[in-house]
């Protein structure tokens, strides 16, 4: 599951074995990571909304947002906005095709 891979990467750079290296050179660490291209770009651009929509663990995402200097208010505003976009998108899909919200636990 690609969201697990990104979740693990965010944990590694915020509180794991890549923390120091990421602080020293985030670009090198991101470039070397085994991430899908779209999610690599989202991490590089600190696109919390895109990472949220990809189903990354909320707690790992919160730690990442703190590590890059975001306030709690900014973080919650961003994911709330992303969630609204998701709901908007889902409402244009027939009800029978909507899945259960297994992500974003």
């Amino acid at each position: 599951m690609k969201e697990s891979v990104v979740t693990q990467f965010l944990i590694d750079i915020t509180r794991g074995h890549l923390k120091e290296a990421y602080e020293k050179s985030s670009e090198d660490v991101i470039a070397a990571a085994s991430l899908p291209d779209a999610l690599r770009a989202a991490v590089r651009e600190r696109d919390i909304g895109a990472l949220w929509l990809a189903g990354v663990s909320p707690m790992a995402l919160l730690y990442f947002s703190r590590a890059v200097g975001w306030s709690m208010e900014r973080y919650y505003a961003c994911i709330t906005e992303a969630e609204l976009r998701k709901v908007d998108r889902a409402s244009s899909v027939p009800e029978a095709r909507r899945g259960l919200p297994q992500k974003n636990r």
Partner: protein, 271 residues
């Protein structure tokens, strides 16, 4: 045997002043009451059913249950929550006996000699003023990375731990503590509210000893009330361990403005 359950949200230590004095005092009285009950029972080893916040558990290794067998449990530094980084003594002998007993009885928890305790465990221990010489055996339940252990399996875990203690408690005076929940969200929209109706219904089920009802929630129902709600697994384990013991609600505050959640605490004492 004695057991208790309590919430562990860090607002109460990080920003106590955000709650009104009546809620703050009621919460402190609850901790005092449970702490005294543990002290009066002269508890030597405290088994803590707990959840955590990405300290030991990660997607690359997320067992359903981990029992801490270390001689010492370091604490994960969380100065932002005004928690003292106190290392707690473990009880390797009892913890290993517990693991062996669970294996013999059909449950297979992971075990680790190097767990770090975060606020899920350190906050209640600090607030309860658990003496520094009380040995701690953490039982971490994966409430973070799905698939999660089922509520039914957590019930079985609690019952199996109690059976193991009856079989080989090594003569210790053992207490149990469950920490976490009840409904709340962390890192998700809705972190400023809980679901008081759900919380009351869940606590009522535990008080009534109706674990069938407490374990009947599908994960989707817990998801809908916030990811932190999965921490009810700890409460279920403690309730199952205490079986038909007398259960009492120590604190029940449906919602605390400023702390953005409810405060619930329970105590079980053997008849």
């Amino acid at each position: 045997m004695i057991a208790a359950a309590t919430v562990h949200f860090p607002y109460m230590t990080a920003w106590p002043e955000q709650a009104g004095p009546e809620h703050r005092d009621a919460t402190h009285r609850g901790f005092e009451r449970i702490g005294k009950a543990f002290a009066d029972a002269d508890v030597e080893t405290l088994i803590v059913f707990t959840s955590e916040h990405i300290v030991n558990l990660q997607p690359r290794m997320a067992p359903a249950f981990i029992i801490g067998t270390g001689a010492v449990h370091a604490s994960f530094p969380e100065p932002q929550f005004r928690l003292e980084p106190v290392a707690r003594p473990g009880d390797p002998e009892l913890a290993c006996a517990l693991v062996e007993c669970l294996y013999a009885n059909g449950l297979d928890p992971a075990h680790s000699s190097e767990l770090q305790l975060d606020h899920g465990t350190t906050l209640p221990l600090q607030q309860l003023k658990v003496s520094a010489d009380v040995r701690i055996v953490p039982v971490i339940i994966n409430t973070l990375f799905p698939p999660l252990p089922t509520l039914r399996r957590c019930r079985e875990l609690g019952a199996a731990v109690a059976a193991a203690l009856r079989q080989n408690g090594m003569g210790r005076r053992v207490g149990m503590l469950a920490t976490g929940g009840i409904s709340h969200a962390v890192g998700q929209p809705g972190m400023d509210r809980n679901d008081p109706r759900f919380d009351a219904e869940f606590v009522d089920a535990l008080v009534a000893g109706d674990l069938g009802k407490a374990c009947a929630y599908p994960d989707s129902a817990l998801d809908a009330r916030g990811n932190g709600t999965h921490e009810i697994r700890s409460w279920i384990a403690a309730a199952a361990a205490m079986g038909s013991s007398r259960a009492e609600v120590v604190t029940a505050i449906p919602y605390v403005p400023g702390w953005y959640t409810g405060v619930y605490q329970m105590l079980w004492e053997s008849l």
